[in-house]
Amino acid sequence: ELKVEQNPLFLSMQEGKNYTIYCNYSTTSDRLYWYRQDPGKSLESLFVLLSNGAVKQEGRLMASLDTKARLSTLHITAAVHDLSATYFCAVDTDSGAGSYQLTFGKGTKLSVIP
């Protein structure tokens, strides 16, 4: 059974600081997704990482994937209040039968404090 673990689950950080959220997964996969969820809202796709060493950046967020370590990171640079949200990573469940299920981590709730 595929397990996806994020840490930390809760993160409170000051504006202007940098921090990294980690996502570990338990089985071979080269497809890793990051989503953002604002309170009371739905999930919004942030990044799709499709190969070992993939790095994507959007504004103050940068995501990377190391498939050998089964690890993805979401790095936050110079945090601002607008980044406060819950961030989820997800991995394809590769059953080999063409099953397009995502297994999600439990999410990291980020609060950026002025």
Binding site: R31, Y33, S42, L43, S45, S99, L102, K106
Partner: protein
């Protein structure tokens, strides 16, 4: 439409009643997914549809849950004889196709409360 539309946004029901949740995907998206989000379990896959292919039902937690997709567009998730543990937010998502690497576009969800 502009995004994935779900209705109702909130549903309160009594234990033992049946409920129907509706999802209208983005126009032109051939793949449609249902996920469930609850405090204890996080986000769980339920079922997905791709075009006219047989749906992948492997995530449905019991035979009280069923879903259909009519005309390759609107989908309905039905929960029969609801139980309190069914209380959760039911999220629908769609994508252009069902393929690795496809972004999913999620609706705002239906908050189901079973009393």
């Amino acid at each position: 439409g502009a995004g994935v539309s779900q209705s109702p946004s909130n549903k309160v029901t009594e234990k033992g009643k049946d409920v129907e949740l509706r999802c209208d995907p983005i126009s032109g998206h051939t793949a449609l997914y249902w996920y469930r989000q609850s405090l204890g379990q996080g986000l769980e896959f339920l079922i997905y549809f791709q075009g006219n292919s047989a749906p992948d039902k492997s995530g449905l937690p019991s035979d009280r849950f069923s879903a259909e997709r009519t005309g390759g567009s609107v989908s309905t998730l039905t929960i029969q004889r609801t139980q309190q543990e069914d209380s959760a937010v039911y999220l629908c998502a769609s994508s252009l196709v069902a393929s690795y690497g496809e972004k999913l576009f999620f609706g705002s969800g239906t908050q189901l409360s079973v009393l």
